[in-house]
Symmetry: C2
Subunit: 424 residues, 2 copies
Amino acid sequence: MPNYNSMDKEALKEEYKKLSEQYAAYKAQGLSLNMARGKPGSEQLDISNDLLTVLDKDSDFKTDDCPDVRNYGGLCGIDEARQLFADLLGVEKKNVFVGGNSSLNMMFDTMACLCEKGCEGQTPWGKLPKVKWLCPAPGYDRHFGVTEYFGFELITVPMTNEGPDMDKVEELVKDPSVKGIWCVPKYSNPQGITYSDETVRRFAALKPAAPDFKIFWDNAYIVHDISDTPDSLLNIFDEVKKTGNEDMVFEFCSTSKITFPGAGVAALATSEKNLELLKQRYNFQTIGYDKINMLRHVKYFGNLQGLLDHMQKHKAVLQPRFDMVTDMLSENLTECGAASWTKPNGGYFVSVDVTDGCAKRVVALCKEAGVVLTGAGATYPYGKDPKDSNIRVAPTYPPTEELKTAMEVFCVCVKLAAVEKLMK
Amino acid sequence: MPNYNSMDKEALKEEYKKLSEQYAAYKAQGLSLNMARGKPGSEQLDISNDLLTVLDKDSDFKTDDCPDVRNYGGLCGIDEARQLFADLLGVEKKNVFVGGNSSLNMMFDTMACLCEKGCEGQTPWGKLPKVKWLCPAPGYDRHFGVTEYFGFELITVPMTNEGPDMDKVEELVKDPSVKGIWCVPKYSNPQGITYSDETVRRFAALKPAAPDFKIFWDNAYIVHDISDTPDSLLNIFDEVKKTGNEDMVFEFCSTSKITFPGAGVAALATSEKNLELLKQRYNFQTIGYDKINMLRHVKYFGNLQGLLDHMQKHKAVLQPRFDMVTDMLSENLTECGAASWTKPNGGYFVSVDVTDGCAKRVVALCKEAGVVLTGAGATYPYGKDPKDSNIRVAPTYPPTEELKTAMEVFCVCVKLAAVEKLMK
């Protein structure tokens, strides 16, 4: 099959007819498949089932700094959990705050804190007429949502193969109303790009006009490899120490996609000064987070190596699924040229760029045929993809057989939309 | 022993000498006892240990509205948990949001939402030059802290035996900058007072000048009886239906003092309109709260009756402790007139009013003798008790023998401070 762009009108008509028939056949099956969200599948959830019973009535509920995890107290989390996350993030325990069940919630609360009280002696962001926030895109819709909720103006920064376009970032931070940036530095959502060493170093060396500029470093996929050649990410805390920018970074992570989404443990790491700022808010907000669940996780993993071993089980489930998805994309879409995509070494998504102006159409076609995708545009600020081309495919949730069918439908829809456009 | 007020100088001197000797004897013991916070004791924590293993790998993780509680989703909580809290609070499931591990956090988040976005078409509170908030006192220090964090002006409303002084409340709400009130309507913290039917009805019938006036109804001790003659509280939601004030109330509760503090489940109930408002924020803040812990609680209790039966076990532990405390107060302090106190039918505290101007001194004397009490003044806005007389005694945490010693020390300190004052 030749590239669609080199086809004449007749050939396109022929291809359209063929694709329409394939599409109609899928539609007739009355499918109900979902590749919309980065949710682990059942098989992955089962991996962590022993976590449920790792604590029982005979357990020792005393920890290094806490007489009984079943009782109130311990704002920053139990010592053992702080140490586990410190080891995971490559920082010191004193820089870690272990919170509730959601890193998104911690990002939201951190943003709220900066809006309410401010930092570095600057006006709280909530009291400023205008706050701008940098959003590398394609990116994570829920990140953009948080900053949109707080009324910030979202500024799109293009992604490159090495992370956000740092020339653009360095230029944009000269504006003192630019207060921060969202980053998913490893296996970025949705492209699976890991920031290069140079990108991390340039972040650490930023000299923003705003003294209270903050990097929200969401290391959501820190240990979420799906290939035998995993990426590695430079530790930004090591770098900011060299540049004196220790107070510029808040790093977030959680066990949501390590144990149970929504029933895991979230943590953040930042400078002691920033932690003091956050604690001033947390101290009013709560007496403390779920320490029993922290102890469950600590006992279940034992240590960082235990956690890394555990992640190999996820990899074993996910690697063949991602391979299938990228193989199917290659087989179906390489020659016709209707799309390009990433082949990530980790993370939860495959990012597909379909023919410009066709993403919405592809998502609509898929939906009509019973295959739900992330809404087109969701990976851009305000849900508006300027080229209408990016689609985030999430291969983790559906059972393998369903995923295969969903991908077949997807590929037909990508081709159909491309041909439709060329015929116009 | 006669009343101190009727003693002459010589008799006081004699009494002072006696008390000083007793005090010195306790001090020499090098005690380390704590009656500061409303924390359950170990015996109470053990009651709920079976909760830890109620779910295991063979459990059914599917619920009425959720395909798998181990995965993402379900912003308002699982249906079964919403129903349990609906039954507990006497409202409909549609009015309930089940959240994380802390009702304090839900109150804080609700307050933040009203500060950020406002309601009833009014200016968000965070954008107003002045917000006033009513604080029945003595009350809960962490409540006052939340409103202080958000920069509100706290206005003290005196407590009566039937709840807050409603004449004062009705007068104060005529000021449109008064936006709400803290209430612990059942077994109030610290006095253990349950609002009378008339008080609840007057709350429901309030006609505040501020259209966005809100009652934060913290029903923290809703099923926390410690006597054979428990109090009963009128259901405020039934009452506001009659007065058309459905949107005026946010009710909060949690299982913190039912199962495990910090590892329980919190919930709020409010009008559907208010719930929509909160959901607009929660939808950005989180994907959802810990549904595994919700299911744990649902399975553990079975239903409301199971929860009520469970509370009888707490009562069995707490009733003798509270009886001991109030008996010791009676025996030691009735005749000398150095204090008055409440004998609550439930809750977590005994509120003691010592001689005016002596609360700080009593707390300091106790501390010096190794007995930690809640800071004097903590039960008042800004930590300032105008009469310096109220002390919150928390009898739940220390083992019974330690509690007895701590109370002996406390009684000696109350008397010593009273005599000191009379000798001045």
